[in-house]
C-alpha cells in the first residue's frame, strides 16, 4: 500500500512497512548513515540518520523507524544537522586522530562525515582511546582504538557470514568489540573472510599488509619475482581508475605489472583451470572407487578453516586438492624453476587476490615445501591498486599485453570461479568429458548461476546421476551438512564460497556500499564466458602441455605430491 508523506515541504510516496530511510532513499533523498547497512538488521545506535518529525519531541532514527501516513519529515533542518554534527564531534572526542597514519586515510566514513559536516574545531576533548592493536591474525589486523562501536562488523559476522566471531564485550563507555574471551584473533573462530573489513567505516579493521615486503623484493636484483593475479582482479580494479564497474582490464594489468618490473606475470586463471582438472579427476576417483561422497570444494580457504573448526568430522569430505593459488605456487616452485633454471632460493612468489583469507592460507603449515611457503606474499585488490599507484604507473597510457608463457593461456571456465556457482559449472564441463567420454553439448548452465543462498542441481552424466549443491556464504552450509550427517546421499558435490556472491565480493575488494558493483562484476564474468574461444579447463593447451611435460596425468602421482594437501582439526571457541 502506498501513501503520501511530506518531506521537506514536498510530497513523496511511501510504502507501508518500509522504514523512513528506505522511503527517503527510494525517492532520491540522501540521509547520512553510519551504523546502517542495507543487508543488516537496523539498530539505530549511531544516530547519524536522525530526522525531525513534526509532532515528535525527539529526533527519530530514520533507519529503524517505520514510516507512517501522518508524517511530516525534515531531513536537513538546522536542529537535525546540529544533532548529527554533535554526534560526530562526540565520536571524534576519543578517536586517536591519526588520520595521516591510518589505513583508511582518504576513504574513511568518519573522516567523510567530519568534512561534510564542516567540523573545524574540537569542542569536546575526551579521554583518547588507548588499546593495543591486535596483529596476531595472519590476514586481519584489529585496531580497537579506531573503533566507533557501530557494530557493523559484529552484525556482518553474525548475520551475513553466520560465523559470529566478533561480539560486544563489556558495557557503557568501556565497551569494546572482540572475539570470545577477548582473545587474540589468531586464537578465535575467525575464518579470515574479511567481510568485517568491508563493513568497517573506519580503520579499526584492515588487512595485514604484505606490500612493503614486496617492494623490497621487487627492487632486489638478485630476486626473481613472479606474480600470479586472480582473474577477478582484472574486473575489480577499474572502478578506482574511474571506469565503470565490472570493466575487464585483463591486458592492462599485464602491462602495468611488466612496467613495475616483475620478472614473470601469470594469470591465476591458469591455476583455476588446473584446479578444475584435478578436482574432476578426484571427483571421478571418489565416484568410481566408493570414496567419501559428497565431496566439498576446497578452493576457498575461509570455508576450509570453517570446516576444520566447526565440522571436523566432515574433513574427509573436503577435496584434497590445494586451492588454485597454492597449486600455482607449488607449480612455480617446482616445474617453473627447473624448466627456466631459476635459483629456488632467489624466487619470490606473489599472489594478488580479491581475498584476505588467501593470506592466511599461504601461511598454512600444510602449504609449505621444506619449511618454505609456496607463496611468499599475498596482496588484496586494495593493496594491488595502491601498489600500482605507489610505483607511479599511469594505467590510462598502457596498451593490453598478454601474460607470460608457459602459463599464458586461460580458459573461461577457470575465470568462472570468481562467482558463486562458477566452480560447479566449470567442474561439470570437465567432469562430463571424463565420465561421459564426450563434451557437453551446452556448456552454459544457467541453473547454477546467480545462486541466492542455496541451490541444488541434478544432472545425468554418463552412467551417473549427480547432485550438486551450491552454497552462497558459509552461513547456509549448516543445513546441507546436517542433512549429509543424517544420511542424505543424492548430493555428490558441494561448492561453498565463504563470501556472499563469490570472490567478486571478497574481503580484499575495493570499499563500496553499492550492491550493484558485485553484480556488474558477475555479469562481466559471464559475458566473457560467452565470447571466449576456450570454455573448457581440460582443453586449455597450456594445461595439456603441463601434463604432457611434467605432471603426467590428472590425479597422478606427481599431482598428488605437489597439488594435494591435508587438513587438520582446529580447537577454537566457536
Amino acid at each position: 500500500m502506498n501513501f503520501p508523506i511530506e518531506v521537506n515541504n514536498k510530497i513523496i510516496i511511501a510504502r507501508k512497512g518500509e522504514t523512513i530511510l528506505e522511503a527517503l532513499t527510494r525517492n532520491g533523498l540522501k540521509v547520512p548513515t553510519l551504523c546502517h547497512m542495507t543487508e543488516l538488521n537496523p539498530t539505530g545506535s549511531c544516530r547519524m540518520c536522525v530526522v525531525e518529525v513534526e509532532g515528535k519531541a525527539n529526533l527519530i532514527t530514520a533507519c529503524s523507524h517505520p514510516v507512517e501516513e501522518w508524517m511530516k519529515i525534515k531531513t536537513h533542518s538546522p536542529r537535525v544537522v546540529n544533532a548529527r554534527k554533535t554526534n560526530v564531534e562526540l565520536l571524534l572526542s576519543n578517536h586517536p586522530d591519526d588520520c595521516l597514519y591510518c589505513d583508511r586515510n582518504g576513504n574513511c566514513e568518519l573522516q567523510k562525515f567530519a568534512a561534510e559536516l564542516n567540523i573545524r574545531e574540537r569542542r569536546f576533548t575526551g579521554k583518547k582511546n588507548k588499546y593495543k592493536t591486535d596483529p596476531s591474525g595472519s590476514s586481519i589486523v584489529r585496531d580497537q582504538a579506531k573503533c566507533v562501536l557501530c557494530g557493523r562488523c559484529v552484525r556482518t559476522c553474525d548475520e551475513i557470514m553466520g560465523v559470529s566471531t566478533l561480539g560486544f564485550i563489556g558495557r557503557g563507555n568501556t565497551t569494546i568489540i572482540g572475539p570470545s574471551f577477548n582473545r587474540q584473533l589468531n586464537l578465535s573462530s575467525c575464518i579470515a573472510c574479511g567481510q568485517c573489513i568491508m563493513s568497517c567505516p573506519t580503520g579499526a579493521l584492515h588487512e595485514k599488509r604484505h606490500s612493503a615486503d614486496l617492494q623490497h623484493a621487487l627492487h632486489n636484483t638478485e630476486k626473481h619475482v613472479v606474480i600470479q593475479y586472480s582473474p577477478t582482479l582484472s574486473i575489480s580494479i577499474g572502478e578506482e581508475l574511474g571506469m565503470k564497474p565490472g570493466k575487464d582490464l585483463y591486458g592492462i594489468i599485464n602491462a602495468a605489472l611488466r612496467k613495475m618490473g616483475f620478472d614473470k606475470i601469470f594469470d591465476a586463471a591458469f591455476a583455476a583451470d588446473l584446479y578444475i582438472v584435478e578436482l574432476a579427476a578426484e571427483m571421478e576417483k571418489r565416484m568410481r572407487s566408493g570414496g567419501m561422497v559428497p565431496m566439498f570444494s576446497s578452493d576457498c580457504p575461509a570455508w576450509v578453516k570453517h570446516v576444520e573448526q566447526t565440522y571436523p568430522e566432515m574433513i574427509p569430505h573436503l577435496s584434497a586438492c590445494k586451492s588454485p593459488q597454492q597449486m600455482f605456487g607449488a607449480i612455480i616452485r617446482s616445474y617453473y624453476t627447473t624448466t627456466f633454471h631459476v635459483d629456488i632460493d632467489n624466487l619470490y612468489t606473489v599472489s594478488a587476490m580479491p581475498c584476505t583469507a588467501r593470506k592466511f592460507e599461504s601461511k598454512r603449515e600444510q602449504m609449505t615445501q621444506k619449511g618454505i611457503s609456496d607463496v611468499d606474499a599475498v596482496l588484496t585488490t586494495r593493496e594491488f591498486n595502491q601498489f600500482i599507484r605507489l610505483n607511479g604507473i599511469d594505467t590510462h597510457q598502457l596498451e593490453p599485453e598478454i601474460s607470460d608463457s608457459p602459463f599464458h593461456v586461460q580458459s573461461s571456465a577457470g575465470k568462472l570461479m570468481g562467482a558463486t556457482g562458477g566452480l560447479t559449472e566449470a567442474l561439470i564441463r570437465t567432469l562430463y568429458s571424463r565420465l561421459a567420454g564426450k563434451e557437453i553439448a551446452q556448456p552454459k548452465i544457467t541453473e547454477v548461476r546467480n545462486v541466492k543462498d542455496y541451490k541444488e542441481y541434478y544432472m545425468k552424466i554418463g552412467e551417473f546421476k549427480l547432485g550438486f549443491a551450491i552454497v552462497n556464504s558459509v552461513k547456509y552450509a549448516e543445513k546441507i551438512i546436517n542433512e549429509i550427517k543424517a544420511g542424505r546421499d543424492d548430493i555428490h558435490f558441494v561448492e561453498v564460497v565463504a563470501c556472499p556472491g563469490g570472490c567478486v565480493n571478497g574481503g580484499g575488494q575495493p570499499f563500496s556500499n553499492d550492491q550493484n558493483i558485485a553484480k556488474a562484476r558477475i555479469k562481466s564474468i559471464y559475458d566473457n564466458d560467452e565470447k571466449d574461444p576456450i570454455r573448457f579447463a581440460h582443453k586449455n593447451p597450456a594445461i595439456l602441455d603441463l601434463y604432457r611435460e611434467y605432471l603426467g596425468q590428472p590425479g597422478g602421482e606427481k599431482s598428488e605430491s605437489l597439488l594435494y594437501t591435508t587438513y587438520s582439526k582446529r580447537e577454537v571457541s566457536l
Binding site: 553474525d158 559470529s164 566471531t165 566478533l166 561480539g167 560486544f168 564485550i169 563489556g170 558495557r171 572482540g178 572475539p179 570470545s180 574471551f181 577477548n182 573462530s189 571457541s573 566457536l574
Partner: protein, 160 residues
C-alpha cells in the same frame, strides 16, 4: 566438575540469547565464577556462539571470570560510597594486592570485586571481606584492616 556443568546446562537446554541469564547465574552459584570452559560448554550444548555468551556475561557486573580468592573483598561503588571517594579505596586495594578489580591474586588468597550498592549507605564508603562489613573505610587504614581481618580469621589459623 564438567558433569555438574553439563547437568545444569541440559536442564536449561532451550535457552536463547534473551533467556541466558538464569543459566549463567546458576553456573556461577555452582562454580563460584564463569570459567572459559563453562562458556565453551554452553556454546557447544546450546549452539549459541561463545562470543555472544561472553558478551552477555561481561555486560553484567554480577559475573566473575576468575575463581574467588580465600578472602573475597568487595568494595561498594554506589552513589553514597562514590561521593565519599570509594574510588580511592579501590585504587589503594589494587595497589596493595597488585590486581585489578574482578581479578584474583596468583596465590589464590585475595580477590577484589567492585559492586554497585551493598545497602549500607549510612556508613559509606563501605567494603566487605568474606561477608563482613567494614564501615567508613579510610584509604590509609586499608592495609591494617585487611591484615587485621586475615590474622583474626580462623581460615588463616588453620593454614598455619
Amino acid at each position: 566438575m564438567s558433569d555438574i556443568l553439563d547437568e545444569i546446562i541440559k536442564r536449561n537446554i532451550n535457552v536463547h540469547r534473551d533467556s541466558l541469564l538464569p543459566l549463567l547465574q546458576e553456573i556461577q552459584n555452582e562454580l563460584g565464577y564463569l570459567s572459559d570452559e563453562s562458556i565453551n560448554r554452553i556454546g557447544q550444548l546450546t549452539g549459541m556462539p561463545t562470543s555472544k555468551i561472553y558478551g552477555v556475561a561481561t555486560f553484567y557486573d554480577q559475573f566473575r571470570f576468575n575463581p574467588k580468592g580465600r578472602f573475597h573483598i568487595r568494595v561498594c561503588h554506589g552513589t553514597a560510597c562514590h561521593v565519599n571517594e570509594s574510588m580511592n579505596i579501590i585504587r589503594e586495594l589494587e595497589r596493595i594486592l597488585k590486581i585489578k578489580q574482578g581479578q584474583t591474586t596468583r596465590d589464590g588468597m585475595y580477590s577484589l570485586e567492585v559492586v554497585n550498592c551493598m545497602g549500607a549507605c549510612a556508613v559509606a564508603p563501605v567494603m566487605n571481606i568474606n561477608g563482613k562489613y567494614m564501615p567508613a573505610a579510610e584509604v590509609n587504614k586499608i592495609k591494617d584492616i585487611i591484615e587485621g581481618f586475615v590474622s583474626n580469621s580462623s581460615v588463616y589459623e588453620n593454614c598455619q
